[in-house]
Amino acid sequence: MRKDQREMILDRIRAYEFAAAELNLYLDSHPGDKRAINDFNTFVKQIEALKKEYERLYGPLLNFGFGPNADQNRWQWIDDPWPWESY
């Protein structure tokens, strides 16, 4: 099945979060590695941008503590599909 745009953004978020987690673990034992810190920060910025993009197009990824409710008039968390559901 062809992946739609929404699935593709989710896949990229997953991939970048995994890469950031890997550098997180690496940096735990190599705390002075500037290149790793730089790449970690790049991944984190990318994750933030991807999540913002996802939320702008498809609604909130989490229920609270992450992004504002973009619609002033309607609570969007109850809208389908939830991030872990397919259309």
Binding site: D11, A15, F18, A19, E22, H30, A36, D39
Partner: protein, 70 residues
């Protein structure tokens, strides 16, 4: 799922493993090689390989004649 306290339950004795140790099988790796961060997969490749670091790729390959994973 947690079903609450079970009367008569006895915890497994850690000195008596359920399965006898099998020689030649690697269950886990409790250490990793000292690393230098020089090369990294792209995030998409990393997720596929199971690691960001090319030097740590250790795929579990099926052995043809044993029928198991090692």
């Amino acid at each position: 799922m947690y079903y609450g306290y079970q009367a008569g339950y006895t915890a497994p004795d850690p000195r008596q493993p359920h399965m006898p140790a099998q020689p030649g099988l690697m269950l886990a790796r409790a250490y990793i090689l000292p690393q230098t961060y020089t090369r990294a997969f792209s995030p998409e490749e990393a997720l596929r390989e199971g690691t960001l670091f090319p030097e740590l790729v250790r795929p579990y390959e099926k052995k043809k004649h044993q029928g198991g994973w090692a």
